[in-house]
């Protein structure tokens, strides 16, 4: 029994030993992976040719002289275009003689091995006849690689050569010499091609022989990301123009092949969702829907990084507020492995409005200060100008003042001398860049007397050096006859009042003969309380027989906050803090759907800071210039002031004395 077991153990051990021998003798998995000689040239005894998989003995043994050059004249290209063209020429040349056939096979061998193909794969892809597609693939891979066209390579590892036999008929058989080590090893000038994964393909100049471990050069990868940006994402439409900048970013390692691109436009109604970008096989106009139209299209080979396409001005029509005009770019294919489109995220221009201010009956002056305040900056005036085409004619719209416009800082946009009054300023197209031709009363500190020679940055810069009129000095709190608190109906008041804190003025009508002066100054804290205007405050309509009958309201406060619902405030307004025209709506939530009633203040307006938050007006067509706020200094303010002066500023004769004549 023990003999039997021992014999069986011997058998098993024998198999084990055999298996170990087999494992060592057989090629390992690692040795095969990625090797263009796979299954052919595993060792010297099976060293077969690349295309024919046949065994050829030393050519020297045939005829005494080797022909070891893969291409007879070697290769001396120094750029991808020449390199590919050279190989193509060699591969496409007539195969009438043995040397041409050798070069043809050599060129094919180089192309296939750079593409990472073993002999079987090469034969399955045309063998010694390289297709245009393969040459294009070669070009793309080389363009994505780092190539040194003139470096040094050492011919250890593999070398390659064309075989020749006694009949000199087999030059077109590409022979490999696997792991051949030349005892006369030298290092010669050559070409190295390195891909992004670190694979290196080496060739010698003199013979075009690839040397080293040939694993091929990685596929050229491109990854195209289409985007659209624009000069502005809001516009008033009506023929205004937006610069659209479509761009394709290639984040891959190589220039793309010829890729179709398409710029598409569509319109989205207010509050409707904007379709997203994405990747699919759907054409752009179908993907985005919404009656999309093609703006431009073409085919381009996109270099790495950014390539602009189809850049241009787009004219935005007159659409309802909130409408979005969208532009988006799509590309197909977006990388080397797909046939799908990549649709970019749409860039949309929202139809919006630029609310406007009009100042009637007076100047606009900034940069002054209340008595006791210090000017902290170079105050300036900045507003928008809109250009629209209405019934075929071009117009400018914007904020404007009836008379002069003064600022110690730069004045931008606003028109003086009622520049944009009525239905806007008719202009030529393009709009004149010389604002002096239409805004006559904008004061400038230009260094030349000729306004046209002054740069835009010179409009303004005119400091009047004046303080804001000290209205409060005429109506001190010490002269107040009553104290106000809480919510007040000014229609019930007549006279001078102080306050015990912040107050709210409700809607009211001030009737003839009443003058209400509210001075919120607190002598103890030396600050003004705030006043909120919660409703319209109007002077009663006349007729008035005397100037003194004209009703008038004077509000002297810290902040004056005017609520959203107020459309008219007949008052002198003096805010040592901020005048806010839509104070009860949080600033971040203000849209064209709130604060959208026009506010008119009839009276002088003075404030340390004016915040104009109304969104009314700025309609379409001829209403494009309608204002959101109007500050109207009417004659009733002047007439009332004269009557006040007549009461308190009149000089009376209290002493007379006769004097002798002098000679």
């Amino acid at each position: 029994m023990s003999n039997v077991i021992s014999r069986r153990i011997s058998v098993v051990l024998g198999f084990g030993v055999l298996s170990l021998i087999a494992a060592v003798t057989l090629p390992g998995k690692d040795a095969l992976a990625g090797d263009v000689w796979a299954n052919r040239a595993l060792n010297s005894s099976t060293s077969n040719s690349y295309f024919d998989n046949g065994w050829f003995d030393s050519f020297k043994s045939y005829h005494g002289t080797p022909h070891s050059y893969v291409i007879s004249n070697g290769i001396s290209s120094n750029n991808v275009t020449d390199f590919v063209a050279y190989l193509k020429a060699k591969n496409r040349s007539g195969a009438g003689d043995a040397y041409s056939r050798s070069d043809k096979a050599g060129a094919a061998f180089i192309v296939h091995t750079i593409l990472g193909r073993n002999g079987d794969q090469a034969n399955a892809n045309g063998g010694r006849n390289i297709s245009d597609a393969d040459f294009n693939d070669l070009r793309d891979r080389l363009n994505s690689a780092t190539i040194n066209w003139n470096t040094t390579v050492c011919d250890s590892h593999i070398t390659t050569m064309s075989v020749i036999n006694d009949e000199r008929t087999q030059y077109d058989v590409q022979r490999d010499r696997v792991y051949y080590v030349n005892n006369n090893e030298s290092c010669e000038s050559g070409i190295t091609i390195t891909d992004r994964f670190g694979s290196v393909y080496r060739m010698q100049h003199k013979c075009a022989n690839p040397v080293g471990y040939l694993t091929g050069i990685a596929t050229a990868d491109f990854n195209l990301v289409p985007t659209v940006t624009g000069s502005k994402d809001t516009t008033e439409g009506g023929g205004s123009q937006v610069m659209i900048s479509p761009n394709v970013e290639n984040t891959g390692s190589a220039k793309s092949r010829s890729v179709a691109w398409q710029l598409t436009s569509f319109r989205i109604a207010p509050n409707d969702a904007i379709p997203a970008g994405g990747v699919n096989g759907t054409a752009p106009v179908s993907h985005y829907g919404n009656s999309s139209t093609t703006v431009a299209n073409g085919s381009t080979e996109f270099e790495r990084n950014n390539t602009p396409v189809g850049v241009g001005l787009r004219t935005i029509g007159d659409y309802p507020i909130g409408t979005r005009i969208c532009y988006t770019l799509s590309v197909n294919p977006y990388n080397q492995d797909t046939t799908n489109w990549r649709h970019g995220t749409p860039f949309c221009v929202t139809i919006a409005k630029s609310p406007k201010l009009q100042v009637h009956g007076g100047d606009i002056r900034v940069g002054s200060n209340y008595v006791g305040q210090t000017v902290t900056g170079n105050s300036r005036i900045t507003t928008n100008i809109s250009q629209k085409t209405i019934s075929g004619s071009n117009y400018l719209f914007g904020s404007w003042g009836e008379y002069g416009v003064f600022a110690p800082g730069v004045i931008t946009g606003i028109g003086s001398g009622s520049a944009f009054a009525g239905t806007g300023l008719a202009i030529s197209d393009p709009a004149p860049d010389d604002i002096c031709s239409y805004t006559f009363l904008t004061f400038s500190n230009a260094t030349t007397s000729n306004c046209k020679n002054a740069g835009a940055s010179n409009y303004g810069g005119y400091n009047t050096g004046r303080t804001i009129p000290n209205v409060a000095a005429s109506f001190p709190v010490t002269s107040a006859t009553g104290t106000l608190s809480g919510t007040v109906n000014v229609g019930t008041l007549n006279g001078r009042y102080k306050t015990s804190g912040d107050i709210t003025l409700s809607a009211a009508t001030i009737t003839a003969g009443k003058t209400v002066i509210i001075n919120t100054y607190n002598p103890t804290t030396r600050t003004y309380a705030n006043v909120t205007i919660a409703g319209d405050i109007r002077y009663a309509n006349g007729a008035y027989a005397l100037a003194g009958e004209i009703p008038q309201l004077i509000i002297l406060a810290g902040n004056i906050n005017i609520n959203n619902a107020v459309t008219q405030l007949d008052a002198w307004v003096s805010a040592e803090g901020t005048l806010n025209t839509c104070a009860d709506v949080p600033r971040a939530t203000i849209t064209s759907n709130n604060c959208d009633d026009k506010l008119t203040i009839n009276g002088p307006v003075m404030a340390n800071q004016v915040q104009l938050w109304r969104t009314a007006g700025s309609g379409t067509g001829v209403t494009s210039g309608d204002p959101a706020e109007v500050f109207n200094l009417r004659p009733d303010a002047y007439l009332w002031a004269i009557s006040q002066n007549a009461k308190s500023g009149r000089l009376e004769s209290v002493y007379q004395r006769e004097l002798p004549p002098r000679y």
Binding site: A22, T152, Y180, G198
Partner: protein
């Protein structure tokens, strides 16, 4: 089923299984061993054109992983990584021929990055170790040609010619070729 049959079946399973397992793991084990220093000795193969039965010496090289690392560094223009990887391998090389071979690889990589002066500097170290290594000398000659330093190129071509064979089987340059190159360089 008899015990004999069972033993035979088990033996076949062991043989086949062991073969498959070895196929997958034996090369990897070799890689682990070689990978300790980042050095790999390539499989020694007989030249099909060489004398039957001879086994030529194969130069040392980086492991496949390290070669890829260097290749990526070359692609990225990261010279520091190239130098660092090769310097470690050169330090770890146990024999002078391996140090020389690895230095030539380093110079080859530096040459790829157009770091000609650095490559020459490296090869000068290899030359100190083996002043008669044909690859080192021909490499230096080529680099000097690339630099336009024809005087030094000629010097090194002459030195290569001294040790180059009169004839080669593989089409490599012969003594006459190198003399011709030296003369060309001297004429410039």
């Amino acid at each position: 089923m008899s015990r004999k049959s069972i033993v035979i079946i088990i033996s076949i399973v062991v043989l086949v299984g062991g073969g498959i397992a070895s196929y997958f793991f034996v090369p990897s084990v070799n890689s682990w061993v070689n990978g300790i220093f980042g050095i790999a000795k390539e499989d020694t193969q007989q030249s099909p054109d060489g004398p039957k039965g001879t086994v030529p010496t194969v130069k040392a090289n980086l492991t496949t992983d390290k070669q890829a690392e260097v290749g990526k560094a070359i692609y990225a223009g990261d010279k520091d990584t190239v130098v660092e990887v090769y310097d470690k391998a050169i330090s770890a090389a146990k024999t002078n021929p391996d140090k020389v071979a690895m230095t030539q690889r380093k110079a080859e990589a530096l040459g790829q990055m157009n770091e000609v002066d650095t490559a020459i500097e490296a090869l000068k170290e290899a030359e100190k170790i083996d002043p008669t290594d044909m690859a080192t000398l021909s490499f230096l000659a080529t680099l000097y040609m690339q630099k336009g330093d024809y005087k030094n190129a000629a010097v090194y071509y002459r030195r290569v010619a001294e040790i180059a064979p009169e004839q080669t089987d593989s089409g490599s340059y012969t003594k006459a070729d190198y003399i011709s190159r030296a003369e060309d360089a001297e004429k410039r």
